[in-house]
């Protein structure tokens, strides 16, 4: 029994030992495993760090060699970092000239406000693109454009502004030139219209002046020879006065024509406007051997318009027709101006010529600013005409047919019922 117990004891001991051993081995294995895992992790970490370093180096190289200014900037405007291109941009000799300083040192005073507004947007988490004028550390004035994005830290809070800035001075300058050029063109167009106006005006004024001179000289000659009774001079002298008044009327009209002010709307007899245009363009038409004929709607159709502006539109159309026919040496040079009732509440004015017509490919562009087919045109006339017609609530169209071009525009007619009370309108004119 004793040996049996011992045996059993041994067995139990052995079992226990084995169990312990197994446990130990297991434990060791696990430990090893864990160690391996840790080791692997460590190795992994080291690789990541390497890569991070590598990446940072690469980024730094890219930024340093980037031809455009790259900078980091704090919310208060302090420059945290800037690349060499940035240093060159602000005329800094070394990094210390600008890093740690406020960016406002190189922003033109009048643009600091704009700069701060955009900075605030970036620090609020938005991207921003803005232009500003910069005064470099050496005092040069340059135009800059910055694309800025927010940089966030681990808590995803914006801690800096990353800005890429380029010098757009040349571009700005070209833009400015373009703008000046446009202004200049507009000025030339206005001057040339006034120049043409002046020619028309001179010829128009010549008439009463010539009559005055003839009447007066006739009087003087008769008085010299003494072969005239004073009473006979009354009539020619009255003619002199009338012609002087006529000259005054022409001048007043011309002054209205060049005046630049708010439209003065009144009830206008469109036929009268057409006749007035014919007078002013007569000289030019004749010089280019162009015959102008009128087909005017009866009953003096009235429109609600600024007569001078409408005159300008018709003037432009007639002048264009005259020039188009002359430039292409059209054999038949005729212009027909018609006024036609258009529906119940509109009147249409048509200017039809026998010129070369308009090329189909450009017919949609003729009303565009600076579009011209004339050798010396600036392309303002039709664009101005369109804006005038549209401001009168009408529309203007161009059509080309085999034998020439037709321009027509509509104006709001005044209903006949209203016409009875003409005084209403005379208050405005």
């Amino acid at each position: 029994m004793g040996s049996e117990v011992m045996w059993l004891g041994l067995v139990a001991l052995g079992g226990g030992l084995a169990l312990a051993l197994i446990s130990l081995v297991y434990l060791l294995l696990r430990l090893h495993e864990a160690e391996l895992r840790v080791r692997a992790k460590e190795a992994e970490h080291e690789g990541v760090l390497d890569r991070l370093q590598e990446n940072e180096y690469r980024l730094r190289t890219i930024i340093e060699s980037e031809p455009e200014c790259v900078k980091l900037q704090a919310a208060d405007g302090t420059v945290l970092e800037i690349n060499p291109a940035g240093l060159r941009l602000v005329d800094a000799e070394c990094a210390e000239d600008i890093i740690g300083k406020r960016i406002y040192d190189v922003v033109a005073p009048e643009y600091i406000g704009i700069y701060q507004e955009n900075m605030a947007r970036v620090f609020a988490g938005e991207a921003a693109v803005y232009e500003f004028k910069s005064i470099t550390l050496k005092g040069r004035t340059r135009w800059m454009e910055t694309h800025a994005v927010p940089l966030r830290d681990a808590r995803s809070e914006v801690y800096a502004l990353l800005g890429i800035t380029r010098d757009i001075t040349e571009h700005k300058w070209a833009e400015e030139q373009g703008r000046r050029h446009q202004t200049e063109l507009a000025r030339v167009a206005r001057l040339s219209t006034m120049g043409e106006m002046a020619t028309g005006l001179a010829h128009e004024l010549n008439q009463p002046l010539a009559a005055i001179a003839n009447f007066a000289r006739g009087c003087i000659r008769r008085l010299r020879t003494g072969e005239v009774a004073p009473v006979e001079l009354i009539e020619p002298l009255e003619e002199v006065c009338e012609q002087a008044e006529r000259a005054g009327e022409i001048m007043r009209h011309a002054r209205d024509f060049v005046r630049k002010s708010e439209p003065r709307m009144s009830a206008v007899d469109i036929n009268q406007v057409v006749r007035s245009v014919v007078k002013f363009t007569e000289h030019e038409a004749r010089q280019h051997e162009t015959v102008v004929t009128l087909q005017l709607a009866p009953h003096q159709p009235r429109v609600w318009a600024d007569s001078i502006m409408v005159e300008q539109v018709i003037c432009n159309l007639v002048r264009n027709a005259v020039e188009a026919m002359a430039e292409r040496h059209s054999l038949r040079r005729e212009i027909l101006i018609r006024t036609v009732p258009h529906g119940e509440d509109k009147i249409e004015v048509e200017v039809v010529d026998t010129g070369p017509g308009i090329d189909e490919t450009v017919i949609d562009q003729v009303f565009d600013q600076f579009f011209t087919t004339k050798a010396e045109g600036v392309g303002m006339g039709l664009s101005i005409s369109r804006s005038i017609v549209e401001s009168h609530g009408g529309n203007i169209r161009a059509e080309s047919r085999a034998g020439g071009a037709t321009f027509r525009f509509t104006l709001q007619a005044i209903p006949v019922v209203l016409r009875k009370d003409e005084r209403r309108y005379s208050l405005h004119s």
């Binding site: 001179a202 010829h203 009559a211 009447f215 006739g218 006529r246 004749r286 015959v291």
Partner: protein, 205 residues
């Protein structure tokens, strides 16, 4: 006083009236027309004088009128154009197309009146020459065909004998024809006859 008429065509009635008032001071007759068409309809080509025409006119222009008159292939009065100041192009064209003269607005009264007088004198001269030419034509027309033949040969400088040989006539007959030609043509000498023959286009062609 001259019976010449100054024709004025101007659509501007005030200007036309003022020209009349001025031109009447030199005792010329004045007729005014308000348009080119009115002038073409009412113009009597037999009246001597001149035409004062403003190039600036709507519808048919002064230049058109000049063309129309030229197209009639008849003698017409000389035209003085009134052009706007600096309208040289127009003036040149008018003169090229046969205008007598032009005045530029504004013109001096005496200047216009002088030009009108010159135009009227030119017209009188033209009419005179025209008259002579038609008289001459009538004289030539009075000759018989045989007399015309003799005349042509005389003008060429042939002797009676040479003419007789050429035409197959006797010298005596040629002598008779020649005397008849001198008489009919009212020529006092051979040189008179030659001059007349030179002036008659039907001989020189």
């Amino acid at each position: 006083m001259s019976d010449a008429t100054v024709f004025i065509v101007d659509d501007d009635q005030a200007v036309a009236r003022s020209l009349r008032w001025l031109i009447e001071t030199v005792r010329l007759k004045v007729e005014t027309f308000a348009s080119v068409q009115a002038f073409l309809d009412g113009y009597d080509a037999s009246k001597p004088g001149c035409l004062v025409l403003d190039v600036r006119m709507p519808g048919m222009s002064g230049l058109d009128l000049q063309e129309r008159l030229a197209a009639r292939r008849m003698y017409h009065v000389p035209i003085i154009f009134i052009t706007g100041h600096g309208d040289v192009q127009m003036a040149v064209r008018a003169v090229q197309a046969g205008a007598f003269d032009f005045v530029e607005k504004p013109f001096h009264d005496q200047d216009l009146l002088d030009r009108i007088q010159r135009a009227i004198a030119h017209d009188a001269g033209q009419r005179n020459r025209e008259e002579q030419r038609s008289q001459l034509k009538a004289l030539f027309a009075s000759l018989t065909p045989r007399e015309r033949e003799v005349l042509d040969l005389v003008v060429e400088g042939m002797s009676n004998k040479a003419i007789a040989n050429t035409l197959g006539l006797s010298a005596k007959t040629v002598e008779v024809h020649r005397a008849k030609v001198m008489e009919k043509m009212h020529a006092r000498s051979i040189s008179d006859l030659v001059k007349m023959a030179m002036q008659n286009p039907s001989v020189t062609t």
